[in-house]
Symmetry: C2
Subunit: 543 residues, 2 copies
């Protein structure tokens, strides 16, 4: 079982140091501390374990070190920044693992950009040596890239020429969409195994600048000083501590304080229940800071995030998640009101941004989600997003039971999907007035009203309820898991596209295809034969 929890004192591959407004994240991968057998993490190459630490560090910077304004990402290894994902790890991994590994590393890099865009921290890649493949893709997720000019160090995306696969962490998309590198230059760069050194890399827009070895540290320091204007640092917030998530691992699933995951492995589906807040005592930022990571919107969503990652990587045969909520609608709505009222406060902002990221993780999880809306549920406000993110929803139609759903201001734009739309807008592309009507209504919707408003898929009554849910589960879990993954990826993201949806939708799909092809992973494939005395042989038919 892969463990997604860590903390700086347990890091094996990264050093995190914080001095006032500047954090330095230094990569120093220990070759032997791998997640699996069969490969060594040479030259600062990484496996999922290395990236779990990076994701943890970035999360902690946001919550534990809010005073940080600049994050320098660099390496402690001489002449090498990072050699990217470990090829031998990829070569020996299952298809499903490779795909989920790429998805997680993409989420980590999109997380860096989310921090930069919404929380204003600047990320600076200080490439003290060669950055190849995923190494350059990590750099290009940062705001600025500086490369040492030592006559040797280069940036490169050697996946196509050396491995017969694509750069898997958004490199191609960020080249042309983020840095807007000319497509013919991107073509040359992405087929050049040795990559480019400072001068041409800068000319082509692949890096921001380069400096000779003797002046590199000095130049980075100067740029960091420019970016970390220390005005107001006296009053900088102190941050809150992210303690480990308490989770009990049972044979039947996982038990957290607010989340219960029950695995019905025989039937290949899971029941995932999220409990709403018992009450909403914290009303002020000071009270929220005091509650820290026990504040419901932070704790419940951290638990949900953990459960989603567990489902993805450790429970691949679970194809369907039945989502339920338990609690008082009014408590959820009270929490949302507090969050909205104080959304400018640093911690409240980070909590809302975190909720948004977890919900996007759900959108991007290759499992079907059915929301089951029963008596005692609390699909309101932020928890209504769980329903809106689901592929379908079933709501019990029994007026006596008081089964209700309701929106809050949080549904109006603070929890966007990767395509930039709210889930309400995305649901009502044909009838935007319906999304507006749901948002303004202050009374909860019962099942008949929710159906009329277009909020839910089906509203069976007591007589049909159990059969309908049972049959829906049986049918869903009988379908081809591959076809469902492709179908859900297509139907979940109607409307506009962004760099993120291109990475998760288009790039991921192409990479999935290539990761299956004999030209990459067959006995004569390039990925299989990398680093061996044998050579790759291709079937040259273009598809």
């Amino acid at each position: 079982m892969i463990n997604f929890q860590t903390s700086p004192d347990q890091y094996k591959h990264w050093k995190l140091s914080v001095e006032g407004p500047v954090a330095t994240l230094s990569m120093d991968v220990s070759e032997d501390a791998t997640l699996a057998e069969g490969y060594k993490l040479k030259l600062n190459s990484y496996d999922l374990g290395v990236d779990i630490e990076l994701a943890d560090a970035i999360q902690r910077l946001r919550f534990e070190h809010p005073a940080v304004k600049v994050v320098v990402i660099t390496s402690l290894k001489p002449r090498i920044f990072c050699a990217g994902a470990n090829i031998y790890m990829l070569g020996t991994s299952s298809h499903a693992f490779k795909v989920n590994f790429c998805k997680f590393t993409n989420e980590t890099r999109c997380g860096i950009e989310d921090d930069s865009r919404h929380s204003g921290r600047r990320y600076l890649a200080a490439l003290n040596g060669t950055a190849s493949g995923g190494g350059y893709e990590l750099a290009i997720a940062c705001d600025e890239i500086y490369l040492v000019d030592d006559g040797n160090s280069a940036i490169s995306l050697p996946e196509v020429p050396l491995l017969g696969v694509l750069p898997g962490t958004g490199g191609l998309t960020r080249l042309v969409d983020k840095r807007k590198v000319r497509r013919d230059r991107a073509d040359v760069f992405s087929t050049l195994a040795e990559g480019l050194k400072g001068k041409r890399a800068k000319e082509w827009g692949l890096i921001d600048d380069y400096f000779p070895t003797s002046k590199f540290q000095e130049a980075i320091d100067a740029r960091v000083r420019d970016l970390s204007n220390t005005d107001g640092q006296k009053d900088a917030p102190a941050g809150i501590k992210l303690n480990p998530i308490a989770v009990e691992v049972k044979p039947s699933g996982l038990e957290y304080q607010y989340v219960t995951l029950v695995l019905n492995r025989e039937q290949r589906y899971a029941d995932l229940t999220i409990r709403g807040p018992e009450c909403a005592p914290q009303k002020t930022p000071a009270e929220i800071e005091l509650a820290g990571d026990t504040y419901w919107p932070l704790q419940a969503y951290r638990e949900l995030d953990h459960a989603l990652l567990h489902l993805r990587v450790n429970e691949p045969e679970i194809g369907l998640v039945c989502l339920r909520t338990q609690g008082e609608l009014s408590n959820v709505i009270a929490i949302d009101k507090t969050l909205v009222a104080h959304r400018e406060h640093w911690l409240v902002r980070e909590i809302i941004l975190h909720m948004a990221r977890v919900l996007r993780r759900m959108d991007l999880t290759a499992k079907s989600f059915f929301s089951i809306i029963e008596p005692g549920s609390c699909f309101g406000g932020n928890m209504l997003e769980l329903m809106l993110a689901s592929d379908r929803s079933y709501m019990l139609n029994n007026p006596d039971e008081g089964v209700q759903v309701i929106a809050s201001e949080l549904n109006g734009g603070m929890l966007p999907m990767s395509n930039g739309l709210t889930r309400l807008k995305s649901r009502f592309l044909a009838e935007p007035e319906k999304a507006a009507a749901v948002l303004v209504r202050t009374e909860p919707f019962d099942a008949a009203e929710a159906e009329a408003a277009g909020l839910i898929t089906f509203a069976p009554d007591d007589l049909d309820w159990e059969d309908e849910i049972r049959v829906a589960i049986e049918e869903r879990t009988s379908l081809s898991p591959d076809a469902l993954t492709g179908m859900e990826a297509s139907l979940r993201f109607a409307g506009p596209e962004t760099m993120d949806t291109k990475i998760y939708g288009r790039l991921t799909a192409w990479q999935n295809w290539i990761f299956q092809r004999p030209n990459a992973v067959g006995p004569e494939g390039a990925l299989t034969n990398y680093g061996k005395p044998t050579q790759a042989h291709f079937d040259f038919k273009r598809t």
Copy 2:
């Protein structure tokens, strides 16, 4: 060798009838007239041969029958409109063929939408019986869909539940993006093998209306009358004849009047040369109508289109196309001026739209394109698009040889890519002022100027020229064809996305993946086992 040329008198599967402003395209597939052995085209199911006729009919409507305002697509078979792509054909086809088959059928359906959007013809799907899979996808490419209510006929996308693959002709994307069907309803519909009948199909927005059998024809006729307002029909243009493209098939390639394709099969690349107009005698719409399909912009682009289709389907091992032009820049620019001056004329409009479609066919061809700009070339205006559509360009830097390129007004918006951008804008996403500068300049660019303007990739001089081209070809053709296809699909379409780019980028990539998976095409896969007494068995791991 698959032949992409046909004409109504040779159709085996469609009847095209034209009466004044109304054309009726009736599907009546002959079971035995298949492109390959091993399957029968029952129930109006189709193979590539059927779709080549459909594409031909739509093309002819635009050029030969410009007076047509409404196109009714229906079937002559009782109780069945169309059962979609033939499953046994798919089951017995190679991966590469399946993918190219889907791409061509997608282009045909996007061509219907292109005609509707730009030429104003209304397409009306008159579903006189069940439309399943590709049958419904053909309907959803039309402007309006009407279904007979005979107690039995339904629309459906049974690919996911029955075959373990995706609807391959844009069905999922058009459901949520074109018809803006709610994503949960799209989810239910796309997993329901039997589909939906009239009432619910209309309620969910999947069709526009339904009528009982006894009133169906009458209702369709009434709607056609509404749409085909006959004002001005007296003056409707007569159309021009599209004669067969004359092509000589040689062992070394294809020879047309304006296009030469030389296949270097051993080295897996092709030389594709397009000759510009010898002169530009036609200046008025009347002269252009008189020239008809021999008018250079129509004939040369029809030949180019044919060569591209041939390369895709009949020459899969060719991985790289070296594009050259031959002729006088001034003649090309003179043609462009005439086209721009008369772009409101029906035939000139259709010619420009056709050029745009052929250039998009090139963008979407899974081969690398290098433009080779040598003495005697004429990369100007519309032919400059060939260079801009290429993955790279090499321009000989010898001022004495007079190698030049130049833009025309046609490069400014009349030949858009699938993402809606001009190729100039797409090239200069980072520096839009450079695109504008290229457009306004009236003097040709020599190699040094073109390089400075950012128009070309490399400008080697005489000394380096041959070696550089040779090495570039050798390097390109040595790379993994799969990785190149994925890379090019990613780099060619920076910036915005449209329904078309979603279909070609995202849907195609997912389908490619699924078409490779054992769950679809393995011995126990759903596609393999369709219609057999054996049952599919899935590896239920979600990826």
